[in-house]
């Protein structure tokens, strides 16, 4: 192995790890950050300083680089994530700039000249000379990739991809989005830090220029060209980054052009790829698109569908004697947005075993009331209770964990995942969803995961989607997606299911299936809140109808009563003196 090839190989490994870091944050989690080079630099400087001042074993050097990079990435990302996800971009930019400034100003880090004469690393006393470093680099990188594959293919990885597709929906099924994002940042930071350690221990000289914002952006670009949604894309990107300059040496052009060849080619590639193949060379188009896509195929890390397992009992608590099965109740809630009073003392109860329909004109406050019940909005006044317990202050994740499931009007499926995976994400208490436990591959854990698949299949069967288990969710029809959301909500342990205009935009046939599902779920003891404009559906399903107007629930009662009421008719259905009506859905079915 000539030193020349050693250099190519080592750099390929280093770049692959940084590109993997991009792949994990951007491709898997959909988080856009520009601090890769900063963390790569943190890893490099840590390794250099440890080697220079402590002379520890190479394994310990790598571990310390990883540890410091993880710590810094988490500490800087956490506040940004807690506030609002979008601030992550700005936060990462700030991190990158501060890191560059620190690297070039701090005298302990060598200032503008960087750190020279880093001692050759040694593992268990055996020195790793630069010419032999390729062995160490390959081994380390292979091990790192193996771990990353296991981690990203685990239930945690699935959760992360779900967050990329729709984090609001993830919150609505009770999973903690912030923790998952922080763990993504941590793992990506660790990968970048490890890359830095390899670099420092090979080149034996580092300077601040190697870790600037430009370098971050360069890694981003290269990872994207390789394909960010798949881990293999990072390898392709890295090989490209290493091989291209070598190939360019073969070409001779006028000197001014030759000098700019790298810019021209990288820039040109990037534009062409983004225009015609944004998922990169090996990227997964459906995962990239995050929306309905034209390309078929199972999503990344496809879990094989199996036959549905035994029917799973829904998580409805047995009825205690004499106690009214309240489900969720809102009492006199008021909500103002700025000057607008959306709810003025609205009250609504959604008991278990019943379908409660909520109707009213647009702007009456239905969505806000639903937001309050599900924990998305905290009321200014009033109270929300769950089985008698005050839950006014709880957010959507907590409500979901109690048993509140919400199906959004826009059918928020995880479009890059299969239908089966969508439901799997909903299942609570999955051991390998915690990032630190993803490496727990004991037979017992694996068995539990297989059981989970069976459970998920049974939920799919329940809503009639079992045969579509392996279809990409983004591929399903709108109606099917809504059913999928119901299945997912059931999987999360729903006791109360909120359906927000489920029939909107759905074909009449699908409405029929929807109605059947709703009826059977209520019969099984679920409490259902049906927010609808489709009066026929309401009439057929609902046990109780609540009418909302101008921020209050003005009428509650059996469907025949409420729907026949004159005032309600005039205000909402537009029923005139001669009985004509302009409301939606009247006359359907």
């Amino acid at each position: 192995m000539t030193p020349y090839f050693t250099q190519l190989l080592v750099f390929a490994c280093v770049y692959a790890l940084v590109a993997a870091s991009v792949s994990i944050t951007m491709g898997s989690a959909g988080l856009f950050t520009v601090s890769q080079a900063a963390l790569y630099g943190v890893g490099a400087y840590t390794a250099a300083l440890v080697e220079i001042h402590l002379g520890l074993d190479f394994l310990l050097v790598m571990l310390s680089s990883i540890a410091v990079a993880v710590a810094i990435s988490v500490v800087t990302a956490f506040p940004a994530l807690r506030l609002k996800a979008e601030y992550l971009v700005v936060g990462s930019l700030a991190l990158q700039l501060v890191a560059s400034a620190v690297f070039s100003q701090s005298s302990a880090l060598g200032g503008a000249d960087g750190l020279v004469n880093i001692p050759v690393p040694s593992v268990f006393g055996l020195a790793i000379e630069p010419n032999d470093f390729w062995i160490a680099a390959l081994v380390v990188t292979a091990v790192a990739y193996a771990l990353l594959y296991v981690v990203t293919g685990s239930p945690w990885g699935r959760l992360v991809r779900a967050i990329r597709d729709d984090e609001v929906a993830v919150a609505a099924i009770g999973k903690n989005v912030v923790t998952a994002k922080v763990s993504v940042i941590a793992i990506a930071g660790g990968a970048a830090g490890l890359a830095g350690a390899l670099y420092a221990c090979y080149v034996l000289y580092i300077s601040p220029d190697d870790f600037s914002l430009q370098i971050s952006v360069g890694f981003l670009a290269v990872a994207l060209i390789g394909g960010a949604t798949r881990l293999e894309g990072s390898i392709v990107g890295a090989v490209l980054l290493v091989a291209l300059p070598q190939l360019l040496r073969l070409v001779t052009l006028p000197p001014n052009v030759q000098g700019q060849l790298q810019e021209l080619i990288y820039g040109g590639f990037l534009v062409l790829f983004m225009m015609f193949r944004p998922q990169g060379i090996v990227g997964d188009w459906t995962a990239w698109r995050r929306a309905r896509s034209a390309a078929p195929g199972p999503a990344l890390g496809g879990v094989a569908a199996r036959a549905p397992g035994p029917v799973v009992q829904l998580a409805v608590p047995a009825q205690a004697a004499g106690e009214a099965d309240e489900g969720v109740v809102a009492r006199d809630v008021s909500v103002s947005f700025g000057g607008l009073k959306a709810l003025r003392g609205a009250s609504l109860s959604v008991p278990l075993g019943t379908v409660t329909a909520l109707i009213g004109a647009n702007g009456a406050g239905k969505t806000t009331l639903v937001d309050v019940l599900t924990g998305f909005v905290r009321p200014d006044e009033g109270q929300v209770s769950w089985h008698g317990r005050d839950v006014t202050a709880l957010g959507p994740q907590a409500m979901a964990r109690l048993g509140m499931a919400r199906v959004f009007q826009e059918a928020r499926v995880f479009s890059g995942l299969t239908a089966l995976e969508n439901v799997l994400v909903g299942l609570p208490k999955q051991r390998r969803e915690h990032v630190s436990l993803t490496l727990d591959l004991r037979p017992r854990v694996r068995r539990a995961e297989r059981d989970a698949v069976a459970t998920a299949m049974s939920f799919l069967d329940r809503v009639g989607l079992a045969e579509h288990a392996s279809a990409t969710a983004g591929q399903l029809s709108y109606g099917q997606q809504k059913l999928l959301c119901i299945a997912r909500g059931l999987a999360s342990g729903a006791q109360v299911l909120v359906l927000d205009e489920p029939s909107a935009g759905v074909s009449p046939v699908a409405i029929g299936r929807l109605q059947k599902t709703i009826d059977s779920l209520a019969a099984d003891g679920l409490g259902i809140l049906l927010v609808e404009h489709n009066i026929a559906l309401v009439r057929n399903c609902a046990g109780v109808v609540a009418f909302m107007s101008q921020g209050r629930v003005t009428m509650t009662g059996p469907p025949d009563e409420v729907l026949a009421d004159e005032n309600m008719g005039r205000e909402y259905l537009g029923v005139g003196r001669h009985g004509s009506s302009t409301a939606e859905g009247v006359g359907d079915e």
Binding site: D113, V236, Q246
Partner: protein, 407 residues
């Protein structure tokens, strides 16, 4: 309706395709390198004429690429001269141009490449930062580095294998300050320097140089390479009430802007600088404020006779023939590096010694040869001895030589 099995097979197939694609790229790269290096292994002997490969690290890409081209032209011109004169029938110098992008890390990997792929015994280098970065490699792999563009004082003694063919800034500055103080009797001198290896190097040595002349060093302020607004810094310097300000820049387009912004804030000290300030932009952008500015640069003129050195004259002639223009200084200094190398190689060839790194190092340490910049040798710290400085003053928007001082 989807068919899971077929789709997953397509998926797997797609993934498998990636592997040969990647392999193909690697193979192509390997082929490229193999063909790139086939003609450049060590030195070959053919009919008594040794072919001596040497590296030429310069900026082929990036912001400094245009300067890199000047170096390349200078090297090519002097190589032609050496090969046809002292090398005729004995050896042939063969430069391998490699990109360092004026960046430290790229320089290091490029250097590694030159050493391990091309097996060069020596390489030329430029810019202080990258040269300092490859100094450890030079020491470790015993490859001579001849710097013909970096002027940082840190280059002195950075490696026994590193030779600085042009005076480092310490020596240039010393000549200038001595001239300036003795001719214009400045009492208070301040420094405005660029925050990088060169500027920091100047900041480290200027106070003692000024003190040695009897003037007072009143303070230093730095600016960033990316700055375009110098007024704050200049205001700070103005507050020190200097009568002369030394500009320690590396980027050539900076002094002009400094001068014009100083004029804009009404600050008119005398201005001093070293070779990096002698550029078109200084006079064009600085305008009338530049008049009276004093700077120095290595001179290709003999201070005793006032005539251009013969080597420089020959170099200029060859350059004119090849590129139809007089050689700019960057090219001239690159020529000096080649002259030094050629001379050392000649010594070894004459003594029937192999042209290796250690042998070249020994030869260069004791060398004493005529170059574009006169008759030079190296000090114990491998800085160059004997290069005269031409003191230039801006008169009517033009740099004019007012004196040539020996070292």
């Amino acid at each position: 309706m989807t068919r899971p099995v077929r789709a997953s097979r397509r998926n797997v197939r797609r993934r498998l395709l990636a592997v040969p694609a990647v392999a193909a790229v690697i193979v192509a790269a390997a082929a490229g390198c193999a063909s790139g290096s086939s003609g450049s292994s060590g030195g070959s002997q053919a009919s008594g004429v040794q072919s001596i490969n040497f590296g030429a690290l310069l900026a082929q890409t990036g912001p400094s690429a245009t300067t890199g081209k000047l170096s390349q032209q200078g090297i090519a011109a002097e190589v032609a001269i050496v090969n046809s004169t002292i090398g005729a029938g004995k050896f042939k110098l063969n430069p391998i141009y490699t990109d360092n992008q004026a960046t430290d890390s790229v320089a290091v990997s490029a250097m590694n490449q030159l050493v391990s792929v091309n097996h060069v015994p020596a390489t030329l280098s430029i810019y202080s930062g990258p040269t300092l970065a490859i100094a450890p490699v030079a020491t470790r792999d015993q490859v001579v580095v001849i710097n013909h563009g970096g002027e940082s004082p840190q280059l002195a003694g950075a490696s026994p294998y590193l030779f600085n063919a042009i005076p480092i800034v310490t020596d240039q500055t010393k000549s200038l300050i001595e001239y300036a103080v003795s001719h214009n009797h400045y009492k208070r001198i301040a420094l405005y320097y660029e925050d990088n290896a060169t500027g920091q190097g100047i900041a480290a040595i200027l106070p003692s140089i000024v003190a040695a002349t009897g003037a007072q060093f009143v303070g230093a302020v730095s600016f960033e390479t990316t700055d375009t607004n110098y007024r704050s810094g200049l205001a700070k310097i103005e507050a020190m009430h200097p009568d002369a300000v030394f500009i320690g820049n590396l980027s050539v387009d900076v002094p002009g802007a400094i001068l014009s912004q100083a004029k804009a804030i009404g600050f008119n000290p005398a201005w001093l600088g070293y070779s990096a300030i002698i550029a078109d932009s200084t006079t064009k952008v600085g305008g009338s404020e530049a008049n009276g500015l004093l700077a120095d640069e290595p001179a290709d003129v003999d201070p005793q006779t006032g005539q251009q050195y013969p080597a420089a004259a020959a170099f200029a002639k060859e350059f004119q023939q090849l590129y139809h223009t007089t050689p700019p200084h960057q090219a001239e200094w690159a020529g000096v590096a080649v002259q030094l190398l050629g001379s050392a190689v000649l010594q070894l060839v004459n003594a029937h010694k192999p042209v290796t790194g250690p042998n070249l190092q020994a030869a260069l340490s004791k060398i004493s040869v005529d170059t574009n910049l006169g008759h030079i040798s190296f000090t114990s710290k491998n800085t160059v001895n004997g290069v005269p400085e031409s003191i230039q003053e801006v008169k009517d928007g033009q740099f004019v030589t007012v004196s040539t001082v020996g070292q």
